[in-house]
């Protein structure tokens, strides 16, 4: 068996999941959808994190109650051999799409702001091998590297929000509730997919993080931290740009750093902070690729994760190039994901959790004993 899982502690797993959730939450949302009807994103992000957390909590509790040590075991138990593999494939594609979205957004930012005029593939060939190496080395490497870089990443994120503070004005957030509570809830449900993959990854590698109970505690902390951080960032973005400006920006976080006060050292900080964010995105993408490979290997009974990692690393490059080429097929995929993504992700998981709980061996044993 060469699944490169090993075992990581609570701090490593928390850093890994939080970095993934924050990176997706801050950099891969669709600006035009999120801001077109006003800016309530600072509330939406909290709602999205909460919804993702609820789905995660139901699944991980089912895992703990039914004695399943990983997501694959839960799916297999709940849905049977065939449907569990179908669902596993959906989750694999979802995780790879999230990894590709991160790569795509950062490549776009680099082409737009750092290396204008450079072809995207020339930048992807720098980012993709790092993602591949992280996933190749396995869970322990990803966890420990995340733990190593967490302070740099926190400083680069919070630093950017603090340095832009001179320009915050509350009127830019108005109307404060966007287009009303209904709109907030709708956006909250759609954007739960920003946080869900990071928690899904924890379910997949639950054995490597000391079991479902530890995965549950880690997941709760990661979702709360990511929700609060992303909500704070959205609040700061909302006080810097009005919703009509934000709806036209594809990289509002980077634009925030370009508004630093003129003169002196701070005006050059945008690229330095960006460097920190690129590291977080590669860690997140590596985590997603590893989780996808692990789930695939488990579902199709491969003893070695390395072929899956290699193939999926190439696949995310293909997805990234598809996104950049704005091919119609990717447009259709994006429409499906944004419209039905959460349903596709949550329903099978919740169904499997319910069925697995009903069939759970622990419960059956307790009944037999009594």
């Amino acid at each position: 068996m060469n699944l490169r899982q090993g075992c990581i502690g609570r701090q490593e797993s928390l850093c890994m999941a939080a970095i993934a959730a924050c990176s997706s939450g801050l950099f891969t949302f669709d600006s035009s959808a999120l801001y077109s009807l006003g800016n309530s994103a600072y509330i939406t992000m909290l709602a999205s994190a909460a919804i993702a957390l609820i789905i995660f909590a139901l699944a991980v509790n089912a895992m703990a109650a039914s004695g399943h040590e990983s997501l694959w075991a839960l799916l297999r138990s709940g849905l049977g051999a065939f449907f569990s593999r179908v669902v596993a494939l959906i989750y694999v594609l979802l995780l790879l799409a999230c990894a590709a979205m991160l790569l795509s957004r950062f490549t776009l930012m680099m082409v737009r702001f750092v290396f204008p005029g450079v072809l995207e593939w020339k930048l992807i060939v720098y980012l993709a091998p790092v993602v591949f190496m992280l996933a190749w080395k396995g869970l322990e490497s990803i966890g420990r590297t995340s733990r190593l870089f967490i302070w740099l990443l926190l400083i680069s994120l919070l630093g950017s929000l603090l340095l832009a503070a001179f320009n915050y004005k509350t009127y830019r957030l108005a109307p404060y509730l966007g287009d009303g509570i209904k709109n907030i809830l709708g956006l909250g449900i759609k954007n739960a997919l920003l946080f869900f993959p990071a928690l899904l990854g924890l379910l997949i590698v639950a054995r490597g993080v000391h079991g479902p109970k530890m995965a549950k505690r880690t997941g709760y902390s990661a979702a709360i931290a990511a929700g609060l951080l992303c909500s704070s960032a959205q609040l700061c973005l909302g006080m810097t740009f009005s919703y009509s400006e934000l709806s036209k920006m594809h990289s509002p976080m980077y634009r925030l750093t370009m508004n630093f006060r003129s003169g002196g050292y701070f005006q050059r900080l945008d690229k330095l902070l960006f460097f920190g964010w690129v590291i977080s995105s590669m860690l997140a993408a590596g985590y997603y690729v590893y989780a996808a490979s692990f789930l695939f290997a488990g579902a199709f009974e491969h003893n070695d994760i390395r072929p899956s990692v290699a193939v999926f690393s190439v696949l995310i490059i293909v997805f990234t190039m598809l996104m950049h080429s704005q091919a119609a097929i990717w447009g259709n995929i994006e429409r499906v994901i944004s419209g039905y993504g959460l349903l596709l992700a949550a329903i099978p998981l919740l169904l499997a959790s319910l069925l697995a709980r009903l069939k759970s061996p622990k419960k059956n044993m307790q009944e037999k004993e009594s």
């Binding site: 006003g38 737009r112 702001f113 450079v118 509350t170 009127y171 109307p175 400006e245 005006q267």
Partner: protein, 436 residues
């Protein structure tokens, strides 16, 4: 088997190290002296094309000491937009243009009047790496003249110009500070109308010899330009026949307007007052005092001095500084009503004046500012220019975006009845002598 694995591993490590070394370099690297940095860009209307784009170029990092003609070059070309201008100007330069250090974009009067500001800035300026905090300036006359006028031995490092603008605005309030980022907010968010610092070129101010040399080396690159001899002959004729046309602000005042002040020396270009815009078109000017009043009401005033006329006819200097952010109460409805509550610290810089008590002086200052604020507001309201940013207060009164977008703010603004409550706290001790 073990040996071959070990050998393979060594080859892999060596290959990876080599790949990392080969990958660690710049994509299309260029050294700093291969760039000319456009520190100020001027935009005027062109004769054969939409724009005449002029630039002040600085080589290196602009921090070296040396002859001004070596440091700063004035170039220009007619073009349809900034992108074309960059390409055309580079055809005559031994280096590449770099706009990442542009401190200011200066708009000539003709461009500002006919909506050219929005037309030019609606392009994707980020592709030219122009920083979003570059200042925007409007000038009376031609921007290319203004650019020529700021070259001087007094200002060898033109890159510091932006710092000077912002500092002058902060210290005096006689000009506003307005950046490209705020322009985009005004465009995309349809927020308040813009107020740009106003500049002017005064040919009567004697140019120093160093900047004359600089002008010779740079010069214009206008495709339809007259020869230099024709221009100087024409200039002499115009100078003798026509005095400099006085600018008046929207309230008819010609005091504290750029180019109107009798001075000796300094730059030929000066900045004072502001250009008032409505929907990105220039509609009038505000003089220095009225600009201060607008900034006080908007909460963008830090400190500055006003000349206060006393009832006995004497004019005294009063230093003002902001105490807190102004509060605005806005009621929408049949008759919209806005009340601005402003608090200022004041210091009368004439301790020998003893005939007024503290409270009398506070009332004088408060009434003076209140009257000016009302005049300026009514004049701006008549022109439809919401330069006081009431719109930003109105939007907070709505709960839903769809309700706000259905509301006609422009029509409501014209009906707003305004009141100003200006509280002045005087730091004025009549027992002080002018010796202390």
């Amino acid at each position: 088997m073990k040996r071959s694995c070990s050998l393979l591993r060594k080859i892999a490590v060596a290959g990876l190290s080599l790949a990392m070394l080969l990958s660690s370099s710049c994509i299309s690297s260029k050294s700093i002296d291969e760039y000319g940095y456009a520190t100020v860009i001027g935009i005027d209307s062109g004769k054969t094309k939409a724009f005449f784009v002029s630039m002040l170029l600085q080589r290196g990092n602009g921090a070296e000491e040396g002859a001004e003609s070596d440091l700063c070059t004035h170039v220009g070309v007619e073009s349809e937009d900034l992108f074309e201008a960059v390409g055309l100007i580079e055809s005559s330069l031994p280096f590449s243009l770099n706009l990442s250090r542009t401190a200011a974009i200066v708009f000539g009067e003709d461009i500002a009047l006919n909506g050219g500001v929005e037309q030019l800035l609606s392009a994707s300026l980020g592709m030219l790496n122009i920083r979003y905090y570059a200042n925007l300036v409007s000038v009376r006359g031609r921007a290319e003249d203004f650019l020529g006028g700021i070259q001087s031995e007094l200002n060898p490092n033109v890159a510091k110009l932006q710092y000077s603008f912002v500092d002058y605005s902060r210290r005096t309030g006689l000009i506003p500070s307005f950046t490209l980022s705020e322009f985009f907010e005004s465009t995309f968010a349809h927020s308040s109308d813009i107020l740009l610092p106003l500049g002017e070129f005064n040919p009567e101010i004697k140019k120093d010899s160093a900047s004359e040399n600089g002008a010779k080396d740079g010069g214009r690159n206008n495709s339809s330009a007259e020869t230099e001899k024709e221009q100087s002959e024409k200039g002499e004729k115009e100078k003798s026949s026509q005095p400099l046309q006085k600018a008046a602000d929207i309230l008819g005042s010609t005091e504290y307007m750029p180019g109107q002040i009798k001075r000796l020396g300094g730059l030929q270009a000066s900045m004072l007052g502001s250009g008032l815009f409505h929907k990105h078109r220039l509609i009038g000017y505000l003089n220095g005092l009225h600009t201060q009043v607008v900034l006080i009401v908007k909460g963008q005033f830090e400190k500055g001095r006003i000349q206060l006329p006393l009832p006995n006819g004497r004019i005294i200097s009063v230093r003002l500084s902001a105490q807190s952010q102004p509060k605005i109460r806005l009621i929408l409805g049949e008759t919209p009503k806005a009340t601005f509550e402003i608090a200022l610290y004041a210091n009368v810089e004439h301790p020998e004046i003893r005939e007024y008590s503290n409270s009398d002086m506070e009332i004088l200052i408060s009434e003076f500012l209140k009257k000016r604020a009302e005049e300026v507001f009514l004049a701006c309201q008549a022109l439809g220019s919401d330069v006081f940013e009431l719109r930003n207060t109105a939007v907070k009164l709505f709960r839903r975006t769809s309700d706000w977008e259905a509301f006609n703010w422009e029509a409501a603004f014209k009906e707003v009845a305004v009141a100003f409550e200006i509280a002045v706290y005087l730091d004025y001790n009549p027992s002080k002598s002018s010796v202390e």
